[in-house]
């Protein structure tokens, strides 16, 4: 009972002999279900948006530093001394970049003359600290050339003092050698104060990098430098006319963290007195209406009028007999950009319609039919009819008479019939397809005063939202709802814009706009359909707080 028996084998063989034929319309139910599954599989554009947002966010996050302005970098380069004499020993080091070339031989314990500089210009020469004598327990900076240093301003925005600097450990060097080497200044903020230190290289390099992220303990710093009697020579060169004078050299002799004497080498020639204490210069107010520096989020809403055009190609257009003309549509959208001074990246949400005016001519099929006919045709004739015989002189003669009659003759004839079927009537129709597009945007811009000139664009992913119209074919028209459209289409968008800054946060702009679809919007047919659009765009931008 537990094993298969010959009966089981016979039963299997017999049952497998059965044959089944596909009933008509059996496939229809499966096809309907497959279409329903396809619809369910179509990605929701809102989910797509949610997917794109993290991508955009990541781009902002990682791309933000590249758009940082020199001012923002410089603003953190501040060193303020601690302790009771902090007020008089404040040392502010500003600079976009600092290079650390090898210290010339012969200078005792000098780590490196550091080159400091900023790209910006300043009327005021760099000014250093105070001339107060160094005191134990405090980092101190002193310089004879800056007697105007305001001791009451321990924290000052170095961004206000753009400077150039160069390596000039050798005082004989004629003039500043401006460098834009990568920044190597570290500013560790502690509470509201900053400490600059250079523990990295005891021989030839002093690296100061900017981070502001974390503060190494004083002990760490001390351990870096305590064992060596280090001396850091910082040479500062102004960028204006005073910069041509011999540089101010600041030497920080780091016998330990507690004491950081800063001296001016004997060869240093004092720079011209600054017209004011550059350390205490008040922040320069930006131009009214000018963009504030640094990365910022800008929300833009736009509306546009487009002239859209759709191209149809592919073998299905062989019997097209249709002209398409462009049509005017409108679109609108919102974009969120993270902007630096000149470049930005962002995402958006665009809603627009592509339309075309379709003029289809009628399609007719003509053919000629040859018809052969056979018919009986009456022919009038006279027949000689024998009516009898007679004997004349022994000779037999037949008696005849003429009989008029009609004879039917079978004749054939060939006829030609011309047929013409109207396979498709002429039609004028406007087709529309609407897409919800999610663009990944890049912007490059420049500005003058309140005016900005920008180009913004990037790839888009368009989700089909609606379609209306008819697609012509060789035998009629197909409703666009029944045509297989791709749910998602890749495209591109670009527009130039001239913006006017209305205030600190608001801008309005206008400019030309272009957009298009990169791939076929139809699926599974020999018809290729792509739309493009050009037009004018008006936008309003608002900078997020």
């Amino acid at each position: 009972m537990n094993e298969r028996t010959p009966f089981d084998d016979l039963a299997r063989r017999k049952l497998n002999e059965r044959s089944f034929h596909v009933p008509p319309h059996a496939w229809d139910a499966v096809e309907r279900e497959l279409e329903a599954m396809d619809r369910r599989r179509t990605p929701n554009p809102w989910w797509l948006l949610l997917l794109l947002l993290p991508v955009g966010g990541a781009l902002w996050h990682f791309g933000g530093d590249t758009t940082a302005t020199p001012e923002t970098s410089v603003a953190k380069n501040e060193m303020v001394n601690e302790g009771p004499s902090a007020a008089t020993n404040a040392l502010a080091v500003t600079g976009e970049s600092i290079a650390a070339p090898v210290t010339p031989a012969g200078e005792r314990s000098t780590l490196s003359p550091m080159v400091m500089g900023t790209a910006a210009t300043a009327d005021a020469p760099p000014v250093w600290g105070s001339d107060a004598p160094p005191s134990s327990g405090a980092m101190r900076a002193s310089s004879d050339v800056t007697p105007q240093a305001d001791p009451s301003a321990p924290e000052r925005k170095a961004a206000e003092y753009p400077m150039s600097s160069s390596t000039s450990a050798d005082p004989a060097l004629p003039g500043p050698a401006i460098t834009t080497a990568p920044a190597a200044i570290t500013t560790h903020k502690l509470s509201d104060r900053s400490v600059v230190y250079s523990p990295s290289n005891t021989e030839s390099e002093a690296r100061i990098t900017e981070s502001g992220m974390s503060m190494p303990s004083v002990a760490d710093v001390a351990s870096d430098v305590a064992d060596e009697d280090l001396e850091i020579t910082i040479t500062l060169v102004g960028t204006n006319a005073t910069a041509t004078s011999p540089a101010d050299t600041l030497t920080m002799s780091m016998a330990g963290v507690d004491t950081l004497p800063i001296t001016q080498p004997p060869h240093a020639v004092p720079a011209a007195p600054a017209p004011q204490d550059s350390l205490t210069t008040a922040p320069v107010d930006p131009l009214p209406g000018s963009a504030p520096p640094g990365p910022r989020l800008i929300l833009t809403a736009w509306g546009a009028a487009f002239h859209t055009r759709t191209r149809y190609t592919g073998s299905a257009t062989d019997d097209w007999a249709t002209d398409h003309a462009g049509s005017t549509t409108f679109g609108w959208g919102a974009e969120l950009m993270r902007m630096g001074d000149h470049f930005g990246v962002g995402v958006g949400l665009h809603l627009l319609t592509y339309a075309e005016d379709m003029h289809s001519r009628d399609l007719r099929r003509s053919w000629t039919e040859h018809i052969f006919t056979w018919q009986l045709q009456g022919v009038d004739t006279t027949l000689l009819q024998v009516t009898g015989t007679t004997v004349i002189n022994g000779q037999v003669y037949q008696v005849t008479q003429s009989v008029d009659t009609t004879v039917l003759v079978l004749v054939s004839s060939t006829g030609t019939v011309a047929h013409e079927d109207v396979q498709r009537t002429a039609l004028e129709q406007r087709n529309r397809t609407s897409y919800l597009e999610i663009p990944l945007l890049l912007e490059a811009r420049t500005g003058v005063g309140r005016w900005e000139f920008a180009v913004r664009g990037g790839p888009t992913v368009g989700a089909l939202r609606g379609r209306r119209g008819l697609l012509p074919g060789s035998t009629g028209y197909t409703d666009m709802h029944e045509a297989d459209f791709r749910a998602l289409v890749l495209g591109w968008t670009a527009h130039g814009v001239v913006r006017f800054r209305l205030g600190e946060r608001w801008t309005m702009g206008a400019g030309p706009a272009l957009r298009g679809q990169l791939f076929n919007t139809l699926d599974g047919t020999d018809l290729v359909r792509r739309s493009t659009a050009w037009g004018g765009q008006f936008s309003v931008g608002w900078q997020l707080p």
Binding site: F7, L15, F20, P23, M37
Partner: protein
């Protein structure tokens, strides 16, 4: 034999290829469904359900597995799933095994010359549970352990159903053979 190119086109969701595959597999799949579900409409619904599963999982199929046996297995599993939902569980453990008729050779001989459709009609007389277990065991080649796992019954119950179905069929075949006075042995 379904060509690989057709399968590939189905994986690419080409509707025409899917239709071709449906027509190619219809006979085999309906053969399975009709054995388990004698109502033709229900069998058709089962077939469509199984075919959709085949299409859905086509891309995940191990290429080393031949297509037809794989599709057959998917269809049988679909049938079993449907059967699980509305079956009437009856514990058959402890019941005595049905006795095999004495003249099995008569039944076998008659079956061999019988029309396939007639035997299918005969199979429909077997109670649903026994018929399905018999189908799984005798026709589709499942073991009792597999059947027990699939249907949530014990192996003993599976064996009982097979014996029960076999007994009913053999008795019916012998009865028909006697009635038609067909030659009983070759």
């Amino acid at each position: 034999m379904v060509p690989q190119s057709l399968i590939d086109r189905c994986i690419r969701q080409e509707r025409r290829a899917q239709s071709e595959l449906y027509h190619a597999l219809y006979g085999m799949l309906m053969g399975i469904c009709a054995r388990y579900q004698h109502d033709r409409q229900e069998a058709m619904a089962l077939l469509n359900q199984g075919f959709l599963k085949i299409l859905t999982h086509l891309g995940k199929r191990d290429a080393s597995v031949p297509f037809e046996p794989w599709a057959r297995r998917v269809m049988i599993n679909t049938v079993i799933d449907a059967f699980r939902k509305d079956r009437e569980r009856q514990a058959m453990e402890g019941r005595e095994m049905p006795e095999e008729p004495a003249n099995v050779a008569v039944a076998n001989a008659y079956l061999e010359h019988m029309e396939a459709e007639d035997f299918a009609l005969l199979l429909e007389r077997v109670p649903t549970m026994s018929r399905n277990v018999f189908n799984l065991f005798a026709v589709d080649g499942y073991s009792h352990a597999e059947i027990a796992a699939q249907l949530g019954i014990s192996e003993g119950t599976s064996k009982w159903h097979v014996a029960h179905a076999r007994s009913i069929l053999q008795k019916a075949l012998i009865a028909q053979a006697m009635r038609h006075e067909r030659p009983l042995v070759r």
